[in-house]
Symmetry: C2
Subunit: 356 residues, 2 copies
């Protein structure tokens, strides 16, 4: 295969099939065939009400016949806005990203929008200029911000300044209703607290996430509220600060299990850290749930694969992504706004039991 002297995406890939490539129809072809102007075809494409029913049907028929589909590049250039939706994430847990992405794709299915993924480093000062150049250059139709990116107010301000539509996914409302998917993590954590209290636990430990994460704050707050409902108070001596990672969970639990008066139950604010608690329990010779009950948060795949299968708070990550997509997608933007709230649910498995 030959390549030209210049760069850019010129020059085909396969080098094959250049034989029977019949050119695709353009808006001009459709206009000619329908005997109308291209502007009228454009109106039909864009569902403008300013077309007579008869004309509309005639044009639609031709579009059907020919299989015409407007060129997104050309449309984007004229609209000054691309048919792209961005997913801007910085999630320590890849599982969240996949699930959100799946949901978003569910929503975008057949909409003509493509999903562009943009990982960023929330700790990098360059993140703002990166996103600025992404938005200015690509002009995406909108972007979805899962947490913790959704909590980055500087970034959100930038999006507003750039006039870029967005939807934030977070544990609590941080913005106007039509820009939010809310997962109410606190309520999920409260369910975990009630579950442990109802089993009879009183010495309950908490392995917390990074204090900068809103989800961590909300989960902890909800957990304490749930305990309070049962007349229990979280003992500060049984709280360990960790970082949402497996390793930090191992360390935190190891520390807790070595206490002179160790807890009978531990709630880790995500499944990764809860898996770490499993490891520390094994190392300390503790049997789950006989010696120690463990509850996680997320209900990631690992929760049901550990032994014994782990009790965890399920977050409908895929639904959250789908909702975010529906809030952005144009069809759903006219008419009723979709529901933007989601409820966590405690999945009780075999890692929790009555304390000895």
């Amino acid at each position: 295969m030959q390549r030209g002297g210049e760069g850019g995406p010129g020059g085909g890939g396969g080098g094959a099939g250049s034989g029977g490539a019949k050119k695709r129809p353009t808006i001009n072809d459709i206009a000619r065939m329908a005997g109308v102007s291209k502007k009228t075809v454009s109106r039909v494409i864009n569902d403008s009400p300013l077309v007579r029913g008869e004309t509309r049907e005639a044009v639609k028929a031709i579009i059907q016949e020919t299989g015409f589909a407007p060129d997104p590049q050309a449309r984007g250039l004229a609209f000054r806005r691309a048919f792209l939706v961005g997913l801007i994430y910085d999630n320590p847990n890849p599982q969240h990203t996949v699930s959100h992405q799946q949901g978003l794709l569910d929503a975008l299915q057949g909409s003509g929008f493509e999903l562009v993924v943009r990982p960023i480093d929330r700790t990098s000062p360059r993140r703002l200029s990166d996103i600025r150049s992404f938005i200015e250059r690509q002009k995406p139709f909108g972007v979805v911000l899962p947490s913790p990116v959704s909590e980055d107010e500087e970034l959100v301000e930038l999006l507003k300044e750039l006039d870029c539509r967005y939807v934030r996914i977070a544990s609590v409302p941080l913005d106007e209703d039509d820009r939010m998917v809310v997962s109410h993590d606190g309520e999920g954590a409260a369910q975990a607290a009630r579950h442990l209290a109802d089993l009879g636990h009183t010495r309950i430990a908490l392995v917390s996430g990074p204090p900068t994460f809103r989800s961590s704050k909300e989960r902890r707050k909800g957990f304490e509220a749930g305990l309070a409902e049962r007349g229990l108070l979280l003992d500060p001596a049984l709280v360990r600060q960790a970082g949402y990672t497996y390793e930090s969970g191992v360390a935190a639990a190891r520390d807790l299990f070595a206490l002179p008066n160790p807890p009978t139950a531990v709630f880790a604010l995500n499944d990764e850290m809860a898996a770490g608690a499993y490891t520390s329990a094994h190392e300390a010779g503790l049997t789950i749930p006989r010696d120690i009950s463990v509850v996680g948060f997320d209900d990631a795949p690992i929760a049901s694969r550990l032994w014994p299968p782990m009790t965890s708070v399920r977050l409908p990550l895929r639904d959250m992504g789908r909702l975010a997509g529906e809030m952005l997608a144009p069809d759903l933007m006219r008419g009723r706004p979709p529901s933007h709230d989601v409820q966590p649910e405690l999945i009780v498995r075999a890692s929790t039991a009555t304390p000895r």
Copy 2:
């Protein structure tokens, strides 16, 4: 916020910031400022050799100063090819997708290309028309096909017909060198076989993947080859066909462990199924590795989180994605082709030991 009567991505998002929005410079501005024609600016942008050094430097200086970046939509329209790279996947294991995606993004970083993700259903007859319309409409610069999509010859034929550049990621070479990233799964499986044989195992079971997956075939073949090197033969009575899922792994292992003369070791062709073997071992009251050694494949995060930590064949998924991206990215297309081979590596942990 008001919205117009027509659809499409018109109408801004934030409604804010429309105040200080200074217009970005276009190629015309740069041309005027540099005192050259826009075509010359275009040549500089595209690294054409047909520009005098002096002129080039002058134009580059202006571009630097102004922070000019060419509009990808406009460029795409004129080039008849978008600045997008597609990732077309249908992976039963989301972990693969995330890792490949990360690697691809590593490679695309700063290239000006955006990554568009396109899940497909390999069993759906509509997959070909879906992809056709994606390619014809979006005109991506190229696409990456991880397995098992990479094994779909019909799809690959379609890409060739559409003149779409592609790179396939697979366990064995299926195409020309510059269209392939090869992971040599067979060699990894052979390492697993040698490891188990060297520990003294002779009754070794195999939990296989779906027969339609090339990776499954290659892993099995490599495993048998590795055993043969040590003078061992795979006993057909100890082979179970499963589906690369956790549940199928549970069922297959349960069956094996119930045998009158059960195996002392089991090799599962991926980590999901190996995790299933852990569960079945627990259910059967078998202790890993005392009663049964277990080896997985992939070295997914779960491998090191299970107890005991699992021996597994590591596939450098992220590197594979990065290599695929480098093979597509324009900078690397001129000059030396990047290496396109990758080697699996057995990570020995605590799930394998000498049989009793």
